[in-house]
Structures are given as C-alpha cells and as structure tokens.
Symmetry: C2
Subunit: 486 residues, 2 copies
C-alpha cells in the first residue's frame, strides 16, 4: 500500500474491513482485528488504521467499546434486503408533483413543526458568523464592487474557487467553464429550458429530488423513469434500454448521494455512463448538490470528469452546505455554455454580488475543508441515530437506506402504509416528513418517506417515535381502506 496519499489509504483499509464484515467473516457483535494487529498485517501505520476505523464508525459499521476494541454494530435492515419497489414504467409519462411538493415545502419550512420534511442543513452547524464576518469585510473593503452588477458568467473569484473544488471531483475545468446561478434550482431550470422543448422526453433517475421533477413538469416535458439501485444509483441496463427505445433529450441523475436514496454510483459505472451518453450524443445533467458531503474519506469522482465531449452539465450549490439563504449555486454547462448564459441573462441577468464575494472568501481562506470534515462526521452520526430510531419505532417490514453521504434518510414502510396519510397525521402531531410521492413523476413511492437527518435532538427522537406509532396504526388498516395503489 505504498505511494498512496493518506486519505485514499484510509479508505482502502476501511473498504477491506467492510468487505470482511459484508462477507460474514465478522458478524454483529464480533470484535474486529485490533488496531495493532491490522497495522502489522496490512503494513500500514497505527494512525492509518485508527483513521479507517473512524470512517467505519461514522458509517455505523463498528463501534468502540472502552478498554476492549472495536465491534461490529447491529445494522438496520437495508433496502437491498427487502423486495424492490414496483418497477418503473417503461413509457415516458407526464410529471405530476408540483402542487403536492410546493405545499410540503411550505409546511416543511414552517418553524412551528419539527421539520423532517425538507432537506435543510443543521442551522447550528452552519458557519453563519464566519460567513457574516467575511460578507461584512468584503463589502466594506470593496463597496463599489459589491454594489456593481456581476456580469456573466459570474463572480471571477468565486469561479476560481469552484474550479479548484471541482478538481477534487476529478474535473479539470477552467473558471470560465462555470456560470454562477441563483441556487442550484436556477441551474436545473436553465438546463431544462436550454435543452428541451415542451413535449420532449427526459430520462430521470428514480427516485429523485422533487425540485428536478418540478422543473420538468413546469416545462411540459415527459419523463421516463430509470430505476436506481439503493447502493449504486441509476441502473445502467435500464438507462440503455430507455435510450434505445425513446428519443431522450436529456438524462438527469444525482450520482453522488442521491436525494432521497443516498446511493453513490461507483467509479466504473460513472465512466460507463459517460461513454454511453457520448456514443449516443445525449446530454446529462449531473446534480452534485452534496458531492462534498461524503461520509467516507474521499469525494466521489464526478461523471463530468469522464466527459470528453462537453455533454455533461454539472451543477451544485452552497445551499445545502454553507448558506441556504445566500442563493448561490453553479453550473458547468459544457458545450451549452452559450445557451445557458443567454437564458440566465434574460431570467435574472446576474447572481447577487456580495454573497458570491463572501462565499469566495470562505472557500479561499475560511477553513472550508476543516468545516466540511466536521459536518460530515456529524451528519453521518445523525443519519445513523435517525436510522436506528426509525427501526425502533416504525412497524415491522420497514427498512431504511444506508446513505454514503448527505443528510437524508429514505424509509420504506410496509406497502399498506400510505405516506401521504402519514404526512397528514404527522402534521397534526406537530412534525413534517416528505412522503415518497413527490420523488417520482407519477408518485410511485407511496409507502416511502424521506426524513431530514441533519439535526438529531430529543425533539426529533420524540417526533420519530410518534410518526412510527402512527405508521404502525396505518399499517393495521385493512388494505381495502388504505390508499395504496401501486
């Protein structure tokens, strides 16, 4: 294991141990090799093994016991253990999520509820004071620049930083290959408007973030759903079949920590995807909102890094990580740079200047990497706590996702439990959830819910107990009275 950088090496060691656990060599409750033993066996330092074990601990695979060592933890049942959801229809269909999802977001942001319904960062973790100081300093240092229009493609200092971050995802892009946007939602909306006309067909990973589906519906497009594997994301054979069968104008997916599924596409699949798209000349929108919120040590490579023909439009934002209220996102539009800038000029003209300056400073010298290391650990732990609470409270037959990054949990309940009914009753009990309906064009995931895991607190714990109890009651309603239809 010579010649590897530290963090890659940690991950390699962590994966070796994971395989040992997965293969059954170590079962729940077993003690894994001691740090010293593993260090000797693999010829790596003690520090390396400790780091690898910390990763596995963050992922909830092992736990330390004082004076004794590390043990394999009980894992909550995973989606892969249970029957898959209904297969996606193979024909493109209209999308129908706008009305429901807008209501859910409105109620999800209402501070009167315990909010598990929106994917919103933990306000206690956000570097709000630091950002505010940097915003203050930047705008007072260059007041004229701060009030001046930030001409397209957007704040040069910020694009430099975004280009540097993209390097970690394997992308060697120049700052000029990015456009800054009013959040990632603008990037998504611009992409769909630039590449598709009403009636066109797009292929979307399923399940997928409802904001993407909203934009598809708004533009009058049809969507063909590509089933996602809970671990590896979009199924390549399903995508291949869809591309063969339909005239697909654009493929959309979240390869790194799909929202809501938590899946992460392996490198080889990303390469294969880029190749498949190139051979058919089909553009791909890579939503990389939480690519930097990996729970392991390394950031996944972006599909964009395998793009040789400018077909991949990668987008992201700082809303899920730094400051939801700043509304700053980005898009690397590949060969569609001109169309995207054109549309942006006519939609919002430019992105707000001072907030871009503040984020550029934070990325440049605000301790962004240290901050990310911290929040990744907390989010990984919170997801695990939430998952365990769900397994404890929800009816038998419930399974939960095992996200490799981000901070949302995807929960499949027994088929009799209608998530929308659960939503209404949870709301009356003072908490919001995101029913699975809004994560597919035709509201397929009716007995699924997505839970926001960014915050773990006694209130959240209590809310999960309540929601689990309600789900249990709904599970006992005879099928004829349930609203399950798939």
């Amino acid at each position: 294991m010579k010649g590897m950088t530290g963090s890659t090496l940690y991950e390699v060691v962590a994966q070796r141990v994971t395989r040992l656990i997965d293969s059954g060599a170590y079962r729940v409750g077993d003690r894994v090799p001691s740090v010293r033993a593993l260090s000797t066996e693999l010829k790596v330092s003690i520090t390396t093994v400790l780091e690898a074990y910390r990763i596995l601990e963050n992922r909830g695979l092992i736990e330390p016991r004082p004076q004794s060592g590390y043990y394999v933890r009980p894992r909550p049942p995973q989606p892969a253990d249970a029957p898959p959801p209904p297969r996606a229809p193979v024909e493109p269909t209209p999308v129908n999520v706008i009305d429901l999802s807008l209501r859910l977001v409105r109620e999800g942001l209402d501070p009167r509820y315990v909010s598990l319904g929106v994917a919103y960062p933990n306000p206690d973790l956000l570097p709000s004071e630091k950002l505010s100081r940097l915003l203050a300093a930047a705008s007072r240092r260059s007041p004229r620049m701060a009030t001046a229009l930030d001409v397209l493609p957007g704040c040069p200092a910020l694009r430099v930083q975004i280009a540097r971050r993209a390097l970690l995802g394997g992308c060697t892009l120049s700052p000029d290959e990015f456009v800054t946007t009013c959040g990632a939602q603008e990037a998504i909306s611009l992409t769909l408007r630039a590449l598709c006309r009403p009636g066109d067909t797009v292929a979307v990973e399923s399940p997928i973030f409802f904001g993407i589906l909203q934009a598809i519906e708004l533009q009058g497009l049809r969507a063909v759903e590509i089933d996602a594997d809970p671990k590896e994301g979009m199924r390549m054979e399903a995508l291949r079949a869809a591309l063969r069968r339909h005239r697909v104008k654009l493929v959309v997916a979240i390869p790194s920590f799909n929202n809501p599924l938590g899946s992460c596409m392996p490198d080889e699949k990303r390469r294969e995807l880029a190749r498949m798209l190139a051979s058919r000349d089909v553009p791909f929108l890579e939503d990389d909102m939480v690519g930097e919120l990996h729970h392991g040590t390394t950031r996944p490579r972006m599909v964009k890094s395998y793009d040789t023909r400018g077909l991949v439009l990668a987008c992201g934002s700082f809303s899920k990580v730094l400051a939801p209220g700043y509304r700053v996102g980005w898009l690397a539009p590949g060969r569609f740079q001109r169309e995207i800038q054109r549309l942006k000029a006519m939609s919002t003209i430019a992105t707000s200047t001072p907030v871009q300056m503040a984020i550029a400073e934070f990325l440049d010298h605000g301790g962004y990497d240290r901050y990310l290391r911290h929040v990744r650990r907390v989010y990984a732990a919170n997801i695990h706590a939430l998952a365990r609470a769900v397994v404890r409270s929800f009816p038998t037959g419930t399974s939960v996702s095992w996200p490799a990054g981000g901070y949302v949990l995807w929960v499949r309940m027994p088929p009799g439990v209608d998530a929308l009914l659960l939503y209404e009753r949870a709301l009356r009990a003072g908490a919001t959830i995101a029913p699975g309906h809004i994560f597919s064009p035709r509201q397929r995931f009716r007995h699924f819910v997505r839970l926001n895991a960014s915050t773990w607190s006694p209130e959240v714990d209590a809310a999960i107990a309540t929601i689990g109890r309600i789900a249990g009651e709904l599970a006992r309603i005879p099928a004829a009275r349930g609203t399950h239809r798939t």
Copy 2:
C-alpha cells in the same frame, strides 16, 4: 393655493410657468417674471417660487443669469416637433431582439468602452459605502437570519418598506401583497410565464425596454405594438383598437418614464387605462423601475393605484437606483399572487437574504429620500447636458426626447442613419450606444438610439462629439447604400 403641501405647490407653480413658456408668452431668451413678482402675483412665498424655478432649471426650461434673473433656455428640438416614426403594425408579430440585445448588453458593460449603451446608474452616485455598512451590520447582528432561507414571499422587513414606498405612488397595499425577486427581470419573466402560453398575444408599449421583449420572445409569444406618445406614453385609442381586434393576454408598459422614451402617462390616462383593462378583464404589467426618479417634485401615481380588481401586476427593483449588483426587485402580482409564488419557488426558490436585509435597512433609516432628491437633480441636469451635446454634434434633423424622469435619452436621427451601423462605428471609436432596433419587436426604430445619461463627464462629451460626427457621415451616405428599411 392654500392647503397644499410644499412639494405639490412647487410643482403647481412650475407647471404654470411651463404653460406660459409653452404658449409662447415667454420665448427663448426672454426673462421670466422675477421671483418677487411671481410670489406677489400667485400669493406664494419667495421660497416656493425659488423651488419652482429650481425644478424648471433642472428640467432645462430656464437658466439663471447672475444679477439678472431667470431666462428661457433654448430647447433642443423635441420628437413632437418632427414627423412621428413609422406607425406600428396592427397585427401581432413574433419578437426578434434577443441576439442583438444580448450582444449589446455584453459590449455595453465592457469597461473598455465609454458606456452610453446600457441604462446603468452613475457609480459615483450610488450609496455603495453606506449600503455596505448596513449589509455588514445586518449580517453581523443576525448571522443566522442572514444565512437562512428567505421563504416566500420574501424578506418581511423589506416588503414593509416597499409597501410604504408604494404609498407614495398612491397604492395602499399590505406587505403581503408583494413578492421580492432576483431583480425586476425575474419579475417580468415570472409574469409572462404565469400568464401566457407560447403563441399567445401580448400588447406592448412601443418603444419599450428590450428586457421585456427578450422575455416575450423567449416564451414564444406574439406582440402587438401600441405606439407611445413621446410625452404621454401609450396611446389609449391604439390600445383600445388592439384589445378589440386581438385576444390579448397581457398588456405591458412603463407608464412612468418609459425606457427609452422618457414619457410619463398623465393621471387621467392611468385611470382610463385601469378602467379599460378592468372592463375587458385584461391583466397589465406595470414596469415601475424608475418611478422614484422623477425630475419634478412628485412621484407619478402608479396605474396599480387605480386597480380595483387585482389585474395590475406592478414591478420594480433597486437596480437602477441603489445597487445593480444586489439583484433585488419586487412584484405586486395582484390576483396572480399564487401563480407567481409558485413559479418563483420552482425557478430560484427565494431571493438572497442578506442583500434584502441591507436594502430594508437603507430604506428604513439610511436617508433614502435625501439620496433620491440628490440623484434626481443630478440625473435631470446630466440628461440636459447630454441632450445639448447631442443637438450640437448630431446631423441636422436629429431630435431628442425630453424625459420627465429616469436617466436615458432617446434620440431620433435623420431616417438615412442606420443606428446599427452607427453602433458598429462608435464601438470602433471606443463608445457604446443602444441602437433603436432592440426597443420594438420588429426592430422598428432603426434610426433611433438610446443614450445612457446617468454620467456626464468630459469623456462622455467627447464620445458624443465623435458619435455625432459619425452619424453625420452616415447621414450623407446615399439612401441606396444605407440599411434603412422602414
């Protein structure tokens, strides 16, 4: 003249004197009544007459001569003096301005040129330092609020301030009747997307700001042009005929200081317009970008103030007055509140929080009214200086607008001068202008240019001399070689 507030009274006195000049009672070079004499005659104070004369001076009607009094100034020829531009076609037509206008904006914002091509505020006048201090103070005082998502319909403190300002335009609207937007361009874009479907017809004042035409073209709408009178704006009889003849989904105009024309619709026409729209149930987008930049003492009433049925959507922004780079605008969508919020949620989710907080503070206690009084005077004076320079340098047959507010000048050249050709040659000489082509759907105003008058400087003076000289050369090109086509 009892019972009037100061500023109304100043305006009344100013208008009396204007009528005397317009009627020929006082001709160019004549001395107008002395301050004392007018004070006695009208039974108003010396101060009132001085204020009224200051207004007339700002408007370029009179000028003081030391130790002697005020004299009627030579006025540049006005559009009303000269033959009107070609009549608007009566049939709706597709719009074709995007490609040209985007290029012009890009080059117009390029700092290498003397920029007369974009309507951009004078950077020396903007309260950049004050705003930056308020931005710094607000975000440091409430860092968590500054990073939090600003949920729809937008920053409450800012909507309170906008509602108060709208009172001055005669609108009694509650803060909840406003939505904040990423600049006025987003408000315009949202309105068109909410109310119209591709192929629909909208009626637009002509000439009109190209950003509106871009949004109309982008959405695949057809436009029927309503000729605007250089003084009073949209011609009511033309609008009435268009509404009778076509199924118009939306009427769009800039009643207060049309960009580029400078016209201001009189109150009685605004009332008539609101009535006409109500009787036919046709919505109206009132672009009020520079309503507060009146050169006289009073802000025009908004058409929205006569709206009894929620049919008027009024929009504006702080980009032309306070901070182009903040990208903060507003929309009072009347009965379309729900549709507008829905679209905004899916396009950009929300407007950036800290910049809204800063503007709210500036409006609340930053001396906004004092600031406005100052810039109005400067802009009125700069327009006048620019108008005189144009009259001096441009070929015979040129006439200029006489804007009652804002900071753009509309120049009509002899029909042989193609504004686009003038644009190209001016660009080579280091200056940008806005050719009239982009201010109507079918590029009707081909021998017109719009000039930005926010800044007056020796460089601008020299640029006008150069552009005027080039225009003179183009005027001498035989018609067959010109590109004039209307």
